[in-house]
């Protein structure tokens, strides 16, 4: 399978507004949101990017679409470096790569109707006449389950249910027929039953439109359902990548194991593993030296503090950033 999108050694630091004293010191504190992350997405696959808050997964997603500029590193789309693209080419890229956000209510302008919101990308890229655009929008609306389309076309976001607004966001992302979609926690704000509907919809659309997804989530249970491969992030770094079956049956990195054990199971007989990592996620401004996870890791040894563990291959297609076995 051809590689559609590749991230190479991405780094993103957010400078902190320091106090007066910082201006005099040479070292400016920064949030190291993404710390040398490399990923590839093959055409047609769903790659899950899993992690808790502060893991850098949302930032990575935005970097892949150049909604944020990387501090260093580059992103390639179909082999071309998109980090240096000019405005014209960037615009073309935007019609091929799209994003669905977490909260549909805040990602839709309250003053734009459903029809206007979904049509706008077509207008920006000059696709079709007004009549053609409307037809295409109505068609896609039906496809994503916004029915009756004619009726909902004129509605405003505050008149829609949560599930409907999320579908509008999805339709807006797909109207230009992109091949790459970043979904940033698209289910987080949705009700339980709506989540299942949206998951099902995303699966369906992937088949019908030949999409490649980067599915950002904190919920490994959903990742298991939708994703082909899963990458686990912790404090700005990727700690493990594996195909779905591999990750869930033979997780290697202690953080992945902890994450999997902590996922709540809708079954009263299941018991969560009591062997939880100590403490909480440290600050991304002053991360621990060496392996970021070592202060909380039940298996840590002295060597873990020394250097950043590289991602090494444990099994075919399965890499882990842990030096232990």
């Amino acid at each position: 399978m051809a590689t559609l999108v590749a991230a190479i050694d991405l780094v993103k630091d957010f400078a902190l507004r320091g106090s007066l004293f910082d201006a005099f010191s040479s070292h400016r504190a920064a949030v190291h949101a993404v710390d040398r992350v490399s990923l590839t997405l093959a055409e047609g696959e769903v790659l899950g990017l899993a992690g808790e808050s502060g893991s850098g997964k949302s930032t990575t997603g935005r970097l892949l679409l150049r909604l944020l500029e990387p501090t260093s590193g580059r992103v390639e789309y179909r082999g071309r470096d998109i980090t240096g693209l000019g405005t014209r080419e960037l615009a073309a890229f935007r019609s091929r790569a799209q994003i669905v956000f977490q909260d549909p209510n805040s990602s839709l302008s309250p003053r734009m109707s459903v029809g206007q919101a979904i049509t706008h990308p077509l207008q920006i890229h000059g696709i079709g006449t007004a009549a053609e655009q409307k037809a295409r929008v109505l068609d896609l609306m039906e496809k994503v389950g916004l029915s009756p389309a004619q009726f909902l076309y004129r509605k405003y976001p505050h008149q829609l249910s949560g599930g409907q607004s999320q579908r509008v966001v999805i339709a807006r992302a797909l109207i230009t027929r992109p091949d790459f979609l970043v979904a940033d926690e698209p289910l987080a704000m949705a009700d339980v039953s709506v989540r299942a509907l949206i998951l099902q919809l995303m699966r369906q659309l992937k088949e019908d439109m030949g999409l490649t997804y980067l599915f950002i989530t904190h919920d490994l249970a959903t990742a298991k359902y939708l994703c082909d491969r899963i990458a686990v992030m912790y404090l700005g770094r990727i700690v493990e990548v594996a195909p779905r079956e591999e990750l869930f049956s033979r997780p290697h990195h202690p953080y992945t194991k902890a994450l999997l054990a902590a996922v709540p199971v809708p079954d009263p007989r299941a018991r969560r593993d009591k062997n939880l990592p100590r403490g909480e996620i440290p600050s991304a401004i002053h991360p621990p030296p060496g392996c970021h996870f070592h202060p909380r890791c039940p298996f840590a040894v002295a060597k873990c503090r020394e250097a950043r563990p590289p991602l090494r291959e444990i099994a075919p297609g399965h890499v882990s950033a842990c030096i232990l076995d």
């Binding site: 989540r195 902590a262 709540p264 299941a270």
Partner: protein
């Protein structure tokens, strides 16, 4: 299961409504359930089902224009709805406590952790000396697994998980009988959440606590609750032990809910989905409120509302599939 324990909370036919511009929202309609001493009851449902409104009403925390229009809430025989002023304030935090979803907004940003505890203790027990109050606080912090040095910190200096622990500590410092937790882990990361549920189980044993857990998270409720009540459209659709609800769900809504949640321990090829949206609570459908979306709907479902009846030992459901409708 403490079926021989005394019932400490009895909710009878509770109805809560609030008027809006286009009519009256029937947020909770005719809800009845009991809570036994030491038991954990889960109130499960999606947004709009009325579970949060119900939770707030248990401590008379409902904001106008919402109001209880019928029914009673009996705590050890006393109707909470009849309490006012001092009696009500004495009950809140002392007999029944509540914690909410977002601990940051529930804590006073200008108070240190220590002050939060001391103020709470002093309010309920003004006669207690500062020394004794500090001792009790220290003991609570130890149970919560929080270091003593945190006493002098402010809420914004603490992590989300720690704040939620402080919340629980404040809720339990006066040793109440009942703790109501409204979506306590929604804002927490999953590993922190696991730690929190462990803490809750621990506290439950130490303080002999009864818990009402309000949540939409089926995994959480499966772990904590002894009994579960499933709410939809302001009414209880099914109520039974956690085992019964998950293994032998009676109501189609319960079944649908369980089916559409991904289970990480299983290999699920397809999720069964429930199309449709929650009912309009201003003009709810005639008959069973779930009928418009129910895969097993029958003609009687759109005509009459089924009663919440015990169709199996300690397991009730409001569904015409089980009730005779001649």
């Amino acid at each position: 299961m403490q079926s021989t324990s005394e019932t400490i909370l009895r909710v009878n036919d509770l109805t809560i409504q609030y008027p809006i511009s286009i009519g009256i929202v029937r947020a909770v309609e005719g809800v009845s359930f009991t809570l036994a001493d030491g038991e954990a009851l889960g109130l499960v449902g999606e947004s709009g089902c009325g579970k949060s409104t119900l939770g707030l009403s248990l401590l008379k925390l409902l904001r106008p224009p919402g109001r209880v229009t019928g029914g009673s809430i009996l705590y050890r025989g006393t109707d909470i709805l009849g309490l006012d002023g001092r009696a009500l304030l004495a009950m809140r935090g002392r007999s029944i406590s509540m914690i909410f979803q977002n601990p940051l907004t529930s804590l006073n940003p200008l108070f240190t952790v220590e002050r939060h505890f001391l103020e709470t203790i002093h309010f309920h027990d003004p006669s207690r000396s500062r020394g004794k109050a500090l001792a009790a606080t220290g003991k609570m912090l130890a149970t919560l697994g929080i270091e003593e040095k945190r006493l002098r910190e402010y809420p914004h200096q603490l992590s989300g998980g720690m704040r939620q622990r402080i919340m629980i500590g404040l809720a339990l410092i006066m040793n109440p009988d009942i703790l109501i937790a409204d979506e306590p882990t929604t804002s927490l990361d999953v590993i922190v959440e696991a730690g929190f549920t462990e803490l809750l189980a621990n506290l439950r044993k130490v303080y002999k606590l009864s818990i009402i857990l309000i949540t939409h998270n089926l995994g959480l409720v499966a772990e904590i609750a002894d009994r579960i009540a499933v709410m939809y459209g302001g009414k209880i659709m099914e109520i039974g032990s956690a085992q019964d609800i998950f293994a032998r769900p009676m109501h189609p809504y319960t079944q649908g809910l369980i089916d559409c949640v991904p289970n990480i321990r299983l290999d699920q090829k397809e999720l069964v989905t429930m199309p449709g949206s929650p009912p309009d609570l201003v003009s709810p459908p005639v008959g069973c409120r779930f009928a418009p979306r129910c895969p097993k709907v029958m003609p009687v479902c759109t005509e009459r509302i089924p009663g919440l009846l015990e169709h199996a030992p300690e397991h009730s459901a409001a569904c015409w599939l089980y009730e005779r409708h001649g």
